[in-house]
Each structure stands twice: as C-alpha cells, then as structure tokens.
C-alpha cells in the first residue's frame, strides 16, 4: 500500500498578508492586494500597477539573516513562509539538533520557483557601455569592463531559480530529495503534486513543497506587457483583476511565496501533529499545441483534471469546489470554463468555482501553492472564497463562479487547477482528513 499523504503545516508571504489567517480573512472580506507599482517607477509602462508584498521583514523569521542577505525577493519570501509552515507542523528550524522526530535525510524540498531579477543598475550600465550605436553591435570588451566592475558575484548567483530551495535547505537542514521546477504559472502545483508522489513512493517522510517568485521588475513587466498578457486598467487597479468577467483584460502581476508541509500519514500520526487536510490526487499533462496559446478546447486542462480524479480514485461527482486558475485573461478563463464543462458534464454548472487571483493577483511560480493553502482553509471553515469584480458576466462563461461574496457550504473535496504558459497543466485534489 502506498503511503497516504497529508498536509501538516502551511505558510505564506503574499500581497494580502504574511500569514495564512490574515490572507484568508482578507479573501473572505473581498479585499484587494493590488495597487500602484512601488518597487520601481513603472509610471510610463503600459501597466502601472501590480500585487506587491509590502512591509516584509525577513529578520522577523530568522536568526541568521546574514545567510539570506543576497536573496532575490522570492528567496526572501520563502524563508518567511517556510518558518511559518514548519512551526505549524512542529518541524524545528535553524538548529543542528532537531527534536521533531523527522530524520533529516527523509525531509525533502520541492519548490516551484522562478528566477530572480537582474541587477538593473549593472545590467543596463554594461549594455550602454558596450553598445556601439554607429555599428549596431556590441563591443564585449567594453561591456565586460562595466559588468566585471559592477556585478556582484552573489547577487548574480541569487538569480538562479534553484536558490529559494538552497535557502530553505540551510534553514531546515533538509537532506532528503530536493528539486526545484519552473513550469511558469503551474510550477508550485506541480511541485506539490510531485512531492506527494515522492512521499507515496517512500522516498521521504515529509517534504516542504510550494513556490516562490517575483517577476515584479522592469524586465519582467516589460516581457508580460509586450505579450499583452497584463491588464492595463491603470485607472482602477483594485477592480482590474476580474476573472470570468466580460470586460477582463489581462492578469495582474503578483509576487510571494507559499509552502506546505506534506507528510506521510504514518509520520504525522507518529509525531502526533495536527492534520490539516489530505492530498489525494495529482494529474499533469501538456497541451503540445502552440508556444503562445492554450489548446482551444482545453484538451490538456481537461486531461490533467481527469488524471487527478483517477489518481484520487474519485468521480467528478464527488467534488465540492474548484479553485480555478482564473487569471482574468480572455483566453484562460474561457478555455478553463470549457475544460470544466468537459470533465464535469451535467454537474459543471452546479459546482462552485472561484478565482482568488481577483484579489491576490497572479503569483506566477507561487500561485498554485498559495491557492492550495486557501483550499485547505475552505475545507476547514466550510467556506468558499469569492471571485471578486464579477459584475459583467460574459454570456458563454456560465458556471457558478461564486461572485463577489464568500459562501458557506459543506466542503470536503476540493480541486486546485494551475495552467502554465507553454502548456503545462497541473491539478491537485485535497480532501478533509478523516
């Protein structure tokens, strides 16, 4: 028999708060974490707002801030999130002699994490010095003179996407299986799903899984603006993220970190820690369609949902709530709706579906894990978070999107969907533990 896998700890650093309860209450009261960009001056960009983590203080979480001093924003956030998650799960951090009953060679890490920002001053100054406008070519010697002078070795290293996992390893002493993946917006749902599989296989007793990412920097915003993927509703940031609405015009770039402690049921029982939920299914697929677009009929999305249902050994009839990817882009929300209709057939219109990105923005690599945490809260409180800003429903988007107000209903089984740019689809299913 494969090990059952449960969630025993959760932590988050997000635009709507730096702990799970603050985030959850904000979501239930329909608060928005979206506002004018302050990290850099974006006033002339097509999009001038985002969902930023505000007033985050790393030193509140660690007694060794010097170990994390070169961190990119995502790495810094994930330290705070993981300290919270470990505390809830009774896992000791920053100690050479942990007394939590978890063998460190069986404590793993799996993050869906993104790259850090370039060092803007050095990056642009080197290009300016090296670029020969007359000849339209780069003089690499001149480029290198500035680059070698201005770039800091550790600051450059910290841009690597495996760095958040490195910081978590130093924090927790984890010596178990450790991976970091980057499948764009689906990354941290994939990391949670694959981490569950490693515990089932018996490779680890517990894994710190989740994501960390910030693309709120000039080149990140440039990239998404050029793709016309972002909302440009600059006059009304708080109503800009409007998943499933007829007037939706793009997603809102967010940042943050979210981690959960996945643990084998036997380890959780042995340690006597509180079980928050059980993770029962994982499905993964790819669209193999176009670099720029999702498959028109949501083929890959439906396949991933079906794979997760099959893995969980449940029917589409058993699902109480779907936490949608719901990005507020024209494409995602209509294709995700189609995929839900394909899988849930006659029940599609009766299953509550919502997107917390309407309030939280899109945390990219960290989005899936942040959303998973809210799914656990939904089960705990038998309450579903709303889709805010849903005032002008598109006629073809006719599911029950929980518009604008949370809803109290019995919630036992929840699906969390994440679809990545490039066609990776990942779905996990969690269940009330009994």
């Amino acid at each position: 028999m494969a090990e059952r896998v449960v969630i025993t700890g959760m932590g988050i650093v997000s635009p709507l708060g730096h702990d799970v309860e603050t985030l959850w209450q904000a979501l239930l009261s329909g608060k928005s974490g979206i506002a004018k960009t302050t990290i850099f001056n974006a006033s002339t960009f097509p999009t001038t707002f985002d969902a930023e983590v505000k007033d985050y203080d790393l030193t509140k979480y660690t007694k060794n801030p010097h170990l994390h001093k070169h961190s990119n924003r995502g790495s810094g956030f994930v330290v705070g999130a993981t300290v919270q998650a470990c505390k809830q799960a009774g896992i000791d951090v920053e100690t050479a002699e942990p007394a939590d009953g978890i063998d460190r060679t069986r404590l793993g890490i799996y993050l869906g994490a993104g790259e850090g920002s370039v060092d803007n001053d050095a990056f642009f100054a080197a290009i300016i010095n090296g670029w020969d406008i007359e000849k339209n070519e780069m003089d690499w010697d001149r480029w290198a003179q500035i680059a070698f002078g201005k770039m800091d070795p550790m600051r450059e290293l910290e841009q690597e996407p495996n760095m958040p996992a490195a910081h978590i390893a130093m924090l927790t002493g984890a010596r178990g299986p450790t991976r970091s993946c980057l499948t764009a917006c689906a990354a941290s749902t994939q990391s949670v799903g694959e981490a569950m599989m490693m515990i089932r296989r018996g490779d680890a007793d517990a894994i710190i899984a989740g994501g960390a990412h910030s693309m709120i920097h000039p080149l990140g915003l440039t990239g998404f603006n050029r793709l016309t993927a972002l909302s440009t509703r600059n006059d009304s940031p708080q109503t800009a993220s409007r998943p499933f609405s007829a007037t939706r015009d793009g997603f809102i770039l967010g940042e943050g970190a979210a981690t959960v402690i996945l643990e084998s049921l036997s380890s959780a029982k042995k340690r006597g820690v509180k079980i928050l939920a059980e993770i029962i299914g994982y499905g993964s697929s790819s669209d193999a369609f176009r670099v720029t677009d999702m498959h028109e009929e949501g083929r890959g999305a439906a396949q991933a949902i079906n794979a997760a249902l099959a893995d969980a050994g449940i029917s589409y009839k058993d699902v109480d709530y779907i936490n949608a990817h719901g990005t507020s882009t024209a494409e995602n929300d209509s294709i995700e709706t189609k995929a839900i209709k394909t899988v849930f057939k006659d029940r599609a219109k009766n299953i509550p579906v919502s997107s917390i990105k309407s309030m939280l923005g899109h945390l990219i690599g960290a989005a899936g894990a942040a959303e998973l945490i809210t799914c656990v809260c939904a089960i705990r409180d038998n309450t579903l978070p709303p889709t805010m800003n849903l005032v002008d429903r598109a006629p073809e988007l006719d599911l029950d999107y929980i518009p604008n107000k949370p809803r109290k209903i019995p919630v036992n089984i929840v699906i969390n969907e994440s679809f990545g740019f490039g066609g990776q689809n990942n779905v996990v299913i969690i269940k009330r533990y009994s």
């Binding site: 850099f40 001056n41 002339t44 960009f45 097509p46 060679t105 790259e115 803007n120 001053d121 642009f124 100054a125 290009i127 300016i128 670029w131 406008i133 339209n136 070519e137 780069m138 690499w140 010697d141 480029w143 290198a144 070698f148 800091d152 070795p153 450059e156 290293l157 690597e160 996407p161 495996n162 996992a165 130093m170 002493g173 010596r175 178990g176 450790t178 991976r179 970091s180 993946c181 980057l182 499948t183 694959e194 296989r201 018996g202 000039p218 440039t222 998404f224 603006n225 050029r226 793709l227 993964s284 697929s285 790819s286 193999a288 670099v291 083929r299 740019f421 490039g422 066609g423 990776q424």
Partner: protein, 437 residues
C-alpha cells in the same frame, strides 16, 4: 507499491564533441578535447576566454515544415534540446508526429517530457537598441524605457527565455501530451529530471518519456557569472586543451560549455513487446542536499552528495562493490572536486580503489543543466561498447583524492554504472544504470 521497470531505448546528444551521440562517443574514445577559445562572442575582456562550443548546425533540419515559424522563438538552449530530442527519438523506433506524422506508433497522452534547464539569459544584442533608446545623461532611464524602449522589444521576447520553453517546443514538435516538467537545479538538473521521469513511468502515469537537459552556457551573461564566482578558470586561457583538470593537482577551475542530451525512457514491458533495442535500465536514483553557508560550493566533506549516492545504491538494491564504473561530476574546481572525492569514497567504502572513475568534463566541458544527461549517455555507451575510455588531464591526482582514475582505455564489462552531480545551491543527485539483461 507496484512499480514498472524503466529502460532507456533512445539516446540523443549535441555536445562540443559533435552533433550526435556517435560523434561524442568517438571523441571521448579518442581523448579529444573540445574546449577552445570562445568564438560566440569576443571574450577578450573576460577572465575566462575558453569554452566548449557546440558545432554548427542547421536547426531547420530538426523542425517539421509546418512549425518552422517557431524557430524565431527559440533561444540557443531550446535549439539544442530540439536537436537532441530528434536524435533520441529517431533511433528509438518510436514514431512521433515530429518524426513521421503518417506512421505514429506512440500514444501522445502516455508520453511525458522532463528536462533540466538553466537560467537562460536574454540576448543582449537583441535588447541593446531598446536600451540605447532609453538613455538620459549617459544613464539608463526607466521612464524613457517604459515609453519608448519597451515598444522596441519584440512582442514575444519573454517566451524565448522561459526555462520551460525547452520542453514546450520539443513537446509541440513531437506531440507530447503527458506530464511535462522542467527542473531548474543548475548542474544537477538533468539527473533530477531523469529521476523524476523514471518515477513517472515507474508509477504508471506514462509509458514513455523524453528526459535529460540542455544549456547553452557560452553566453556573455552566463559566462560572467561563472567568472565572477571564481568557478571558471582564469589561468588556462592559453592552453585550452589541458585547461579542465578534474581531480588533478594542477586544476585551476572549470571550463563551461553548451550541450543538450535527451534519453528516451520506456516502460520495460512495453519495450520488450515491441522488441526495442534496450540500451540500459535505470535501477536506482538518489537525491539530497549539500548544506554549506558558502552555497556556491559543495560542503567540504561532501556529505549531501554522499547521501544521494547511498540512496541511489539502496534504491538499486546493489552493494557499492557491484559498481563497474563511476562518472563523477568532476568540474575541475579544486575545492569541489575534493569534496566530491570524499563523498564518493565515503559512500563506496573500500571498493573505491577498484572501481574505475571516469570524469568527462576535461573533454566535454561543464555543460550545466545538460551535464548530467551527457554523463548518463556516456555511461550507457561504455556499457554497450564494453570499454571505458581514458581519462584526460588527470595526470597527478590532487592531494587527498584516492579515486581510481585511469589514463588508459580499459576493456571492461560494465554491469552497473553510477553517475552523480551537484549544483551550486546544494541539490545533489545520483543515478544507477544497469546493463540490459
């Protein structure tokens, strides 16, 4: 828990030694060093001016006609992975849409892809005109950039540099609709990607998988990071052929390069049923973490790597002395090589003096996220050919290193081989391969 056996039924590699696996293997057998002065850009201002560059290729040969428009969205990392994937599938007997759309014999939904990828740097030359249009008083002006520079950036610019785009392009070309993941664990990425793909098939989620990795490190930004960290040698610019010296007393640092390697993994029963040529079986994987406050280096006692090796051996259910070959990560960075040597010695025990150890980076250079799969392909080749090529540039073993490195080609029946790797950042990985029955 029931588990499927997983075998390798296809190999593909483009490396500094050539555009095919055969080129690479004959180069390795001949002791050829593919490291030379960088020509991809003028390296005069760089502390390290040498690298392992892939030979010229025509990417259009590997992309079906109806998808050739997508070539302009391919960074070099993506191109390399597309070439390696084509070779791996072409020789596997599996026919995907990208090999021959009229003879497909593979179920796209039962096929997975899992590639290791690096932090892909954008093309600075492509970006420079937009930056040049955003200057005030000689300095970058973000205000101007938002108004004018940004508009000069090609609309799909970001898509060339997302690490998951390797798997995305390969997946579209070959119509791979099963699980797709991209592992971003630097130099351990390819081993971890193979380990995960192995598990996807073992647990029954897919019947086939393309697994491996690619990285084009001969790029100014990528190269300068290795120079700044002091990982790249600055003292061998005039002697590229003897520059990369894993475990050698005279080593001064690593030399970086570019490559892609992809293996076709397949459910054993499936491979047997279709009478496929089986190159090797994957019998064990192990992973752990190095914990070092100086995380750009492996911890001095190599413990995190030792754990990965021990786990891989346990997973394979073999004793250390059953290994016939070890291909180490062996970068040529003295502190890291010494730490790795300790990890291997401690994991293997007394048998270490008997088991041949063959580092490959002295010839192939350090190809980052591709390096692990390049070594897996090299190990599989030794199994199939029954010989271990001579190590190169390991003339006098570094003090404290007790590994059995031979400067002579050796005929040997390789039943089990171990490959291992680690990343700056700490992730460690090991894989045990077994000769087919």
């Amino acid at each position: 828990m029931s588990s499927n056996r997983v075998v390798i039924t296809g190999l593909g590699a483009i490396s500094p030694l050539g555009v095919t696996v055969n080129d690479m293997w004959s180069g390795l057998c001949a002791g050829k060093v593919a490291i030379d002065t960088i020509t991809a850009f003028d390296p005069v201002g760089f502390t390290c001016k040498i690298a392992g560059q892939a030979p010229e290729y025509d990417i259009r040969k590997y992309v079906p006609k109806n998808l050739r428009k997508s070539i302009k969205l391919m960074s070099r990392d993506i191109e390399l992975s597309v070439i390696a994937a084509h070779e791996a599938l072409f020789h596997s007997g599996l026919v995907t849409k990208g090999i021959d759309p009229d003879k497909i014999n593979i179920n796209p939904e039962r096929t997975a892809i899992n590639l290791g990828a690096g932090l892909i740097s954008c093309d600075l030359v492509e970006l420079a005109p937009a930056v040049a249009a955003s200057i005030t008083d000689g300095k970058f002006d973000l205000h101007k950039w938002g108004k004018e520079g940004l508009e000069m950036v090609t609309p799909l610019w970001l898509l060339k540099y997302l690490p998951n785009m390797l798997a995305c392009h390969v997946g579209i070309i070959h119509d791979i609709q099963g699980p797709s993941n991209t592992i971003t664990c630097a130099e351990a990425a390819a081993h971890l990607a193979i380990a995960e793909a192995f598990q996807v098939i073992a647990r029954g989620n897919s019947d086939y998988a393309l697994a491996g990795g690619a990285e084009a490190k001969v790029n100014p930004i990528v190269m300068i990071r290795q120079c700044l960290l002091g990982r790249a040698t600055s003292q061998n610019n005039n002697d590229p052929k003897t520059a990369c010296r894993p475990f050698d007393a005279d080593a001064k640092g690593s030399v970086f390069g570019e490559a892609a390697g992809i293996v076709v993994l397949e459910n054993f029963e499936n491979a047997k049923k279709r009478s496929a040529k089986i190159y090797a079986e994957i019998v064990g994987t192990g992973q752990s973490n190095s914990l070092n406050p100086q995380y750009e280096h492996l911890e001095p006692d190599g413990y995190g790597l030792q754990i990965a090796i021990e786990k891989a051996l346990a997973d394979a259910n073999i004793k250390p002395e059953q290994l016939d070959l070890i291909i180490p990560h062996g970068t040529g960075i003295p502190a890291d090589d010494l730490a790795e040597a300790k990890a291997i010695e401690n994991a293997i025990g007394e048998a270490i003096t008997e088991i041949p150890l063959w580092p490959t980076k002295s010839m192939l250079s350090n190809t980052g996220a591709a390096s692990g799969v390049i070594d897996v392909i090299a190990a599989v080749s030794t199994m199939n050919e029954g010989k271990i090529p001579a190590a190169v540039n390991c003339d006098i073993k570094a003090e404290g290193c007790n590994l059995n490195i031979s400067n002579r080609m050796k005929e040997k029946d390789i039943r089990h081989a171990l490959c291992c790797s680690y990343s700056y950042g700490g992730q460690t990985a090991a894989i045990v391969l077994k000769q087919p029955d």
